[in-house]
Subunit: 363 residues, 4 copies
Amino acid sequence: MIDLKVAIIGATGYAGIELVRLLLRHPEAELTYLTSDSYTGQELAAVYPHLTGLLQSSLALSIHDDGVSTLKAIDVHTIAQCADVVFLSLPAGLSSALVPQLLEQGLRVIDLGGDHRIPADLYEAWYKKMPADAAIFRQAVYGLTEIARTKVAGATFISNPGCYTTAAQLAILPSLQAGWIDGRRIIIDAKSGVSGAGRGVGLGTHFSEINENFKAYKIGAHQHTPEIEYHLSLASGQDTCVTFAPHLVPMTRGILATSYLPLQSKACGQLTQEQIYETYQEFYQDSPFVRIRPIGQFPQTKEVYGTNYCDIGLYLDQRTKQLIAVSVIDNLVKGAAGQAVQNLNVMYGLDETTGLEMSPLYP
Amino acid sequence: MIDLKVAIIGATGYAGIELVRLLLRHPEAELTYLTSDSYTGQELAAVYPHLTGLLQSSLALSIHDDGVSTLKAIDVHTIAQCADVVFLSLPAGLSSALVPQLLEQGLRVIDLGGDHRIPADLYEAWYKKMPADAAIFRQAVYGLTEIARTKVAGATFISNPGCYTTAAQLAILPSLQAGWIDGRRIIIDAKSGVSGAGRGVGLGTHFSEINENFKAYKIGAHQHTPEIEYHLSLASGQDTCVTFAPHLVPMTRGILATSYLPLQSKACGQLTQEQIYETYQEFYQDSPFVRIRPIGQFPQTKEVYGTNYCDIGLYLDQRTKQLIAVSVIDNLVKGAAGQAVQNLNVMYGLDETTGLEMSPLYP
Amino acid sequence: MIDLKVAIIGATGYAGIELVRLLLRHPEAELTYLTSDSYTGQELAAVYPHLTGLLQSSLALSIHDDGVSTLKAIDVHTIAQCADVVFLSLPAGLSSALVPQLLEQGLRVIDLGGDHRIPADLYEAWYKKMPADAAIFRQAVYGLTEIARTKVAGATFISNPGCYTTAAQLAILPSLQAGWIDGRRIIIDAKSGVSGAGRGVGLGTHFSEINENFKAYKIGAHQHTPEIEYHLSLASGQDTCVTFAPHLVPMTRGILATSYLPLQSKACGQLTQEQIYETYQEFYQDSPFVRIRPIGQFPQTKEVYGTNYCDIGLYLDQRTKQLIAVSVIDNLVKGAAGQAVQNLNVMYGLDETTGLEMSPLYP
Amino acid sequence: MIDLKVAIIGATGYAGIELVRLLLRHPEAELTYLTSDSYTGQELAAVYPHLTGLLQSSLALSIHDDGVSTLKAIDVHTIAQCADVVFLSLPAGLSSALVPQLLEQGLRVIDLGGDHRIPADLYEAWYKKMPADAAIFRQAVYGLTEIARTKVAGATFISNPGCYTTAAQLAILPSLQAGWIDGRRIIIDAKSGVSGAGRGVGLGTHFSEINENFKAYKIGAHQHTPEIEYHLSLASGQDTCVTFAPHLVPMTRGILATSYLPLQSKACGQLTQEQIYETYQEFYQDSPFVRIRPIGQFPQTKEVYGTNYCDIGLYLDQRTKQLIAVSVIDNLVKGAAGQAVQNLNVMYGLDETTGLEMSPLYP
């Protein structure tokens, strides 16, 4: 038995509380320390009543007098005493200061935020914030698990990918590596549920403004754009350029990315639907969370609801010389907390699916 | 290891597919035979793509050539060969013919439908259909688990309660047994998500007719009315009469029942909020799936999403001499498949929570 | 041609902006002054882009240099110069200070807030705020138009009813006046869309917390309770006592109130469904906005969407001795801005339906 | 006074019932004959209770004994007696047989279906149905009003554009005519509310399958693809080729189209955001229903809810050499019934906005 002691910094945001959901049922992990800036000192079940009665039972061993169910302030030394590994789920710009301290204490770290995903120059240009220390950035393993499995296995510090970027990269990379498409003219039209905007209040998450409504936002300016380009380029060895347009769907969970991949002229007329399907199947044959849909079938966001799956459907449009890839994830699971747990598993040599075996909630 | 072999008759309705979700992850159960009237001969994952890849892995031991993932017709003899216990999830009027045959084969049966919940005269009056055989009805244990745990333990045939009736009875029974309220003037105003209407198509489940809309239906005429009255009366030893008004909420899952319980004159001015809270806490102290909310807090449907919990909030209105109980369940879990699995567990002496330990999906 | 000059104080809340929608198309009204605390100095179309291009065309005559489309601060003297009548749409506690000043300037006033609906003692007990001046309260005509039409006709100051209270009173009053029901044991279970909570941000209006969720709130404590009791008692001459439980529906617009009206013993067995229908029809025969549904039909909120209708369905449950009335309104129209315009029409001797003749938006 | 007598063939589908909503309030039109295949002989208000009481008042002049409110079968001779103009709102393949008969009777015709929008060869290839008669097709004026206003003015037969095609063409055409973009590599990623799928029942419109879900459908195969290509080519004089991918949004009304328009090399680095804005403003300066949003602002579907507006936002991505146009319409109004009424107005020399002057319903 491994029994990892786990701390979550930022436990009351939506990604944080999804980590709680997953780790409460993870057979090898035990939550020991949960922080919250907004609710320090309160019981977690008072903030999230759906957890009523759930933390007591599974967390009896907490070393703290007031128990793990009481939300704490961030205290690196106490965390070092009671945890082996720390998940950070913080707004952009906050984790870059904390990570060095945590690593110095010998803790392993999985950062769900964006601070360590792209180099300093890109970070500054797109996030308009101070970038992380360059040495720390170099230490970070970019944890798109399916692509980086071997690096994750030995890592002490994981930078967990963004939600949109996970859905997009998993759909695009096999085609890019196969040499079928022109990576400099990729268009990604992505659609996300509202939980991706977090639990912060504002008109942008106000029910009456979002419900029965659909909109685009941050076209050409979303900070996931350079993340996609940078890591697609790294993984494929080809220069990529991406037009990325995110949209907001009146639903809580789910991302669907429609990627328009222009065929290289040599691929036109040659490539077949079957060949594409088989290449993707093979590419992901050892990846239990990626499911390639049969030819002619496109995935829907609800079909991965509450799970760590990324489902991909593919369409070859010979008429317009485009390969169209539709990929779906649950933005809070494969797009955040689930992939973080998947990385935890790989990091510690556990089966990749440990604690993540649930079926999608449908309907 | 117990390893129960399980058949589901009616696996492609919403309660059936929820049984599949739960039983796929149940450590002591193995699905061996799934029937579907509408999709006989098809692969389950073709009907429900969210199950892509999930049945193969867990059901390798199926005795059938074409595997459990292929939907079958109902064949009692084959079922008897490959199953220990059968779940029925069929429209009203269909299970009464099947149950005797299944029992005769020595199978244990859990019927999620309404055919065996109330005596023949009530059934005929409210369902307008031929009632089940009286001897079979007498054999049925009404499986509101928290109330009937000891009877369920020895049972071979369970009649699983209705969704509304589960939410209502769990909220009302402690007050009724405590003698605080007048059982002849109970009002239950219940609200359900649309999945309660099943997967059948019609204007009543058409998105554009339901979305951004709210309505009442079957006021005074819903078939769960006699079920509530009959079983509340049986369990409390008091005559009860219930005005029951169901409503449809533009959401997929969840039931919230608001029960208005008129105080007996002796209880007025005497009873306190604290006393009510403690009585309910005690009533359900050995029931892991019932959570009584702290005084002043009311549960929301999302707080039990995807789980077998029934959460209850209570308000004593001294001004109007009413005790108001608000209870929530996930209609497909505690209101159907989850309670059925809970009954399976109790029936076979397993821990009541086996396979049902998930945290609610929030948000 | 009458051509009323109209000011709106609080134009950027949801009731305020609904007043803008209705008055922009009102043939006898002209908007001349719009105030907003949050957006003073901004263009209305910058705050609400759906109004792009709409104010210029219809408001060319504005006397202000910067035009009506620029949101102003509250300035009673300027308002008095450019308006005949003022609508107030402010949070509780703010209009009681303004109304005396506006009236003193000779302006007519229609207050959509709750400050002048109930006497000081009730107001203090339920709103926990300083009540309005008693003399001003006595001057206010409570504008439930269908009931108070003659008083509204001569009024200079209207207190516009609350949303829940409008739906409930219109459904209950005919039965109460007919002497069929016991007014001291009324139960109203009401359900509202989220726009009723206004445009203010908070977790209570956060999309991910509300969507695919249903909850009760303020049971036994909602400030519309005394308004219903007070005005039902006044209008019927009978003492009434109401258990009122509001709920939040994951939709934007609409209220449905289910009123449980216990039959007087003399009415039991005598009263018929037809008699009830005819009594209601007659009661509202001169009320173009109240539609009594045929026996056996219940209204849905979407069937009055965007309009000033209140639709009512009735069910006589002889078995449980209850008359159940289901009433629906659009909370922002008949529950707020629409009824305010209806009162404006009656106040000035216009046809009651002027500017309110639209058909419901369905689906 | 013009007083047009209007028949609607297919009045109980969603486009048909939206025509009823608009024409009931149209000052120059009178409904005289409504047909319904599914509900012949029934009262319209029995099928659509939101119309309770609305048809009697405005349609007193009907020449039929049983009044316009009773739904009829299609009878060309009777229609010819009581109508000047006929709207057809029928499933694909049905209007091509009816239109010649109606025209022969001297009726003017506005066909909301797809049978007369594209030439026979394209129709057969994409609709997989028998095309309309070629002579009739040539007679049809394609009624994208903003583009075809002068032709519509003299027309007797209008083929009303599709919903997606209206949103897409209005957004793309100014850029295409300006010569900025390469028309052979256009990508349109479109998102529609569910009412676009009509009132027919099926799993594709089942609430529990659509709600809290998002999906793509008919990628590369949607019948609006050739309509967009054909009419963009005709209007611009340039060959266009379009990759078109429609998606389904869990909402009732609204379409948002995101059009990715690759810049011609000569335009790169030259074109400015301001120039684009001004060109679009000028292009639509006489079009009251097209609103170009200020630079940096993108429209949302709710901002045109219930109205005939098409709002367009534009973004020039110099980095990726794309012009991105986001356009929104209400699919049932500008995408169907509203544009049909707009065409009626232009056809008869009325002001283009007659009967269409409402403000958007927001929120």
